[in-house]
């Protein structure tokens, strides 16, 4: 029953929190750039406006994949917040991501396919670290089940500092922040236009936005896991992590894809593997 309520709360609250987070993001970013920035609720206004816009598409398949992207992103989050299996949640997240990429491929447009390929490159970049994070959590807690990980009531962060840092590193990719915002850019006038999302407009774009809110909440849930033994600290860690990502976003220029892969793999191979090795020898 409790699990059911939490899952329900996630379904309803995640987009609200995610949207607020996006609004917060835009205000903080604006302040960092000495601007005032939009109101906190601007992301909601944006999405509502997108819903009302004309539904333009290149073909009739493409929006269907976006619907799948949204649905599987919600399922992923539900798996995680219902206390299910972390590894399965990661696999479901991959599946959701693949649907987004397929939507962009389906549109058969030069810019969207460049975006799709870059998205795949980014997935290739972060996948090892994400799996290593799951490996580390399993080694520290003896389970992949999120519910049991929390029930352990141990500060996992002290056992998994390297893995946590590695995870924060790849979260920059997942939050679509600079220097790794390779597959979609915030601004339509840049070299890849809007990359992955070039051919999506109106309601489809709104769905991508909402899916992204769900995704961000899920990712922050992952951060929470490391501090879950003491909820106030966990909430603080989540906010600080997101603030840090915004800070990085505003202080780095977009990099080339090679670096995204090389650096992410290097981080996974050093921080991630180092942490796993330490756990192995200490156990």
């Amino acid at each position: 029953m409790k699990i059911f309520l939490i899952t329900l709360a996630y379904l309803v609250l995640a987009p609200v929190l995610g949207g607020l987070l996006a609004g917060f993001d835009r205000i903080v970013t604006a302040r960092m750039q000495s601007r005032v920035g939009p109101p906190l609720f601007q992301p909601f206004y944006d999405v509502l406006k997108l819903m009302a816009k004309e539904n333009l598409a290149v073909n009739h398949f493409q929006n269907f994949y976006i619907l799948c992207f949204l649905v599987f992103m919600i399922i992923t989050g539900a798996l995680f917040f219902a206390g299910g299996d972390l590894l399965l949640a990661i696999f479901a997240l991959t599946l959701a991501g693949i649907f987004l990429v397929m939507g962009a491929y389906s549109a058969n447009s030069p810019y969207s396919i460049i975006g799709a390929e870059r998205e795949l490159i980014l997935m290739m970049a972060y996948e090892p670290m994400l799996l290593i994070a799951a490996i580390g959590l399993y080694m520290a807690t003896g389970t992949f089940i999120v519910h049991d990980m929390i029930a352990i009531h141990r500060p996992l962060i002290f056992q998994l500092p390297g893995i946590f840092l590695g995870l924060v590193y790849i979260l920059t990719i997942k939050f679509r922040k600079s220097p790794f915002d390779l597959s979609t850019s915030h601004h339509g006038h840049q070299e890849i236009v809007k990359g992955l999302t070039t051919e999506f407009s109106g309601p489809a774009l709104a769905m991508i936005e909402v899916a992204h809110w769900y995704e961000n909440i899920l990712l922050l849930g992952l951060v929470y896991l490391f501090f879950a033994w003491y909820p106030p600290a966990a909430v603080a860690a989540v906010i600080l992590t997101y603030f840090f990502e915004i800070f990085i976003d505003n202080t780095y220029a977009r990099t080339k894809w090679h670096y995204a892969v090389k650096w992410s793999w290097a981080v996974a191979a050093t921080l991630g593997v180092g942490n796993v090795a330490t756990l192995y020898f200490l156990r």
Partner: protein, 625 residues
């Protein structure tokens, strides 16, 4: 026991008949009927053996031993002649060495036969079903394929009769391998599969085909030699050639012969540094690739390694074998990124997946064995489907280049969907490979996390190369052209059959696990791994969602306004071209990325070969210690 004998002997009947008749009508009838019979017999064995333990059978009299011995001599003579005629003297050398060893042990070893020649357990039943059902479907597919192949290649001598003869002998030998408890018998069937694959790879007799066939032969004979060494060691030191006694004699005593047999398994399952033979095998007609990659040959390699798993468990040598598999998985997956030839991508993916299975076998714990068997099942059906679909696509569009498959979903929706099912089956949740990967990861962490890390790094390129291929298939070009070709009934049967098996295996896997795999590990280890019911529920939901999703294709959104793809505002009418920088029209051409500079085939294979050669040396050294 009757069924075992039937499965091993029956394929010889159609083999001989097919070699004799030349009328296409008769051939069709014989192949179809015997494929159905084989598949039915294999499934019947499976049904009869639900939750069954291991049964052993002794074969009365020594006539079978004698017959097999004669067969062995016959094969050796065939290979000697082939080797000398083509001036490839390594072949006769290897043949003389291994046959010499076997003859020596035959006359001076004292142990000629095992107490119990045949055995059947849950693992061999699963293997038999794969060989019977997948192998049968591939044979049916070959009927159409070979006809069309010769119509397209008039320069290649038509040896279809011998082709089907060899295919059925191959299937018989596979049943032989999985049912043999007598290692000498298994060795004989092992050699038969090597010779059959040699013949099939060299089918077209072009220079390249002959070259690659001999490469495959040499590598597999090297494995055969190691197998023979293992048997001779067992016969002299432990006075037995019985597989069950090998498994029962305790790790310390069994490790050295197990190493020799596992080495043979590594060659046959195309692990680095032996992977080149499987890549070269692509020159053969596509059904041969499908056969080698999915239901036969390479599966024999991983089968013996899985069999040896209890001996390898928690040993340094077993860990080294697991490392060989892990390294192969990582490097083969990475290499697949750089390939645009569909069959090569499939070949690298096979090598990678076999690497994973070998790694599980090397780890050897009950979880790992559980995962390995499930990987074998899922890989067999999905890879069979993928190869056969690529074969049909090649005939439809005249190319096996992934770039040419752009927009296949509009040009030939059925083939694209078969392709997508196969690809999804290889790497996407909730399909089987991923369930197995999930257990594999758990087994690896519980054993040694370095393997889990190899898996983590290898999964990333896997995701990349499959997804970009899927994207190519799903792109919707602005001017859809239907392909001209038509899919023949034989192709439909095989493709649809394998597609249903790929999806079905995913729905039925809890059943496969509960009825066959869990009893198997229970019997060997006293433990059985079982997925929690919560996870099964989640899998069910996801499977349901994935089945519901295709309905979306029948949904045509209203109020959708169509626009041309964005080309920086320089679109020319028709939206297929744009205005170039000098004002001239330019066609929109979309290509995938292959990153040849980073995922370089030559340097990755060199790296892999060095590492794995060192590991193999290490494997034997640690086994001796």
């Amino acid at each position: 026991m009757k069924t075992l004998f039937f499965l091993m002997a029956f394929p010889l009947l159609p083999a001989v008949l097919l070699a004799a008749v030349s009328a296409a009508r008769w051939r069709n009838a014989i192949v179809k009927m015997s494929s159905v019979v084989l598949a039915a017999a294999a499934v019947a064995l499976g049904v009869a053996h639900v939750k069954g333990g291991t049964s052993y059978y002794a074969v009365e009299g020594h006539w079978v031993d004698g017959a097999l011995f004669c067969g062995e001599i016959g094969l050796s003579l065939y290979l000697l002649v082939k080797g000398f005629l083509s001036r490839r003297y390594v072949v006769p050398l290897l043949v003389v060495l291994q046959t010499g060893l076997m003859i020596y042990s035959e006359f001076f070893g004292g142990v000629v036969s095992a107490e119990r020649d045949l055995s059947v357990d849950n693992l061999s039943v699963i293997m038999a079903m794969i060989v019977g059902v997948v192998g049968g479907l591939i044979s049916i597919y070959s009927l159409w394929y070979m006809k069309d192949y010769h119509a397209h290649h008039p320069e290649i001598p038509n040896r279809t009769r011998s082709f089907f003869f060899v295919v059925f002998v191959f299937l018989a030998a596979m049943f032989g391998i999985v049912f043999s408890n007598n290692l000498r018998w298994m060795y004989f069937f092992w050699e038969v599969t090597s010779v059959c694959s040699f013949w099939l790879i060299g089918y077209s007799q072009t220079e390249e085909a002959v070259q690659n066939a001999f490469r495959a032969l040499k590598i597999n004979l090297l494995g055969g030699l190691s197998f023979a060494l293992g048997i001779v060691y067992l016969a002299f030191v432990h006075k037995t050639v019985d597989m069950s006694q090998l498994l029962a004699m305790g790790q310390a005593a069994a490790l050295i012969p197990a190493m020799f047999i596992a080495f043979a398994g590594l060659t046959k399952s195309a692990q680095m540094p032996f992977s080149s033979w499987l890549l070269g095998a692509m020159v053969a007609p596509t059904p041969v690739s499908a056969l080698l990659h999915s239901s036969t040959m390479v599966k024999a390699g991983v089968y013996v390694i899985i069999k040896m798993a209890p001996i390898l468990q928690n040993t340094a040598a077993g860990f080294v074998i697991a490392l060989i598999g892990g390294v192969t998985f990582l490097l083969a997956s990475a290499t697949a990124v750089s390939q645009n030839n569909a069959k090569r991508v499939l070949a690298y993916s096979t090598i990678a997946n076999l690497g994973l299975i070998v790694a599980c076998g090397g780890v050897g714990t009950f979880e790992a064995v559980w995962a390995a068997i499930l990987l074998v099942v899922f890989h067999a059906v999905a890879k069979g489907l993928l190869f056969l679909t690529v074969g049909t696509i090649e005939h439809e569009i005249g190319s096996r280049d992934i770039e040419d498959m752009h927009g296949l979903i509009t040009r030939s929706p059925a083939l694209a969907i078969f392709m997508l099912i196969g690809i999804a089956g290889m790497f996407l949740a909730p399909f089987g490979m991923l369930i197995s990967k999930w257990v594999t990861l758990k087994a690896f962490i519980d054993s040694n996390p370095i393997l889990a890390i190899l898996l983590a790094f290898g999964s990333a390129p896997t995701l990349f190369f499959w997804a970009k291929w899927m994207g190519k298939l799903l792109a919707v070009p602005h001017t859809p052209r239907r392909t001209a070709g038509q899919i023949e009934p034989e192709e439909w049967t095989a493709l649809l059959g394998l597609a249903v098996l790929t999806i079905g295996a995913c729905g039925l896997f809890p059943l496969i696990a509960a009825e066959y795999i869990e009893p198997y590990t229970m019997q060997l280890y006293g433990h059985a791994f079982s997925l929690g019911y919560a996870n099964l529920a989640i899998m069910g939901i996801m499977l349901g969602a994935l089945i519901l999703l295709p309905l979306g294709f029948f949904y045509f959104p209203k109020n959708l306004k169509y626009e041309g793809a964005y080309m920086a505002g320089a679109n020319l009418p028709g939206n297929l071209s744009f205005q170039g920088s000098l004002g001239q029209p330019r066609d929109m051409i979309i290509r995938n990325v292959y990153f040849r500079a980073y995922f370089n085939e030559a340097s990755l294979s060199r790296l892999g070969n060095w590492i794995t050669v060192l590991l193999i040396v290490l494997m034997f050294v640690t086994a001796e210690l």
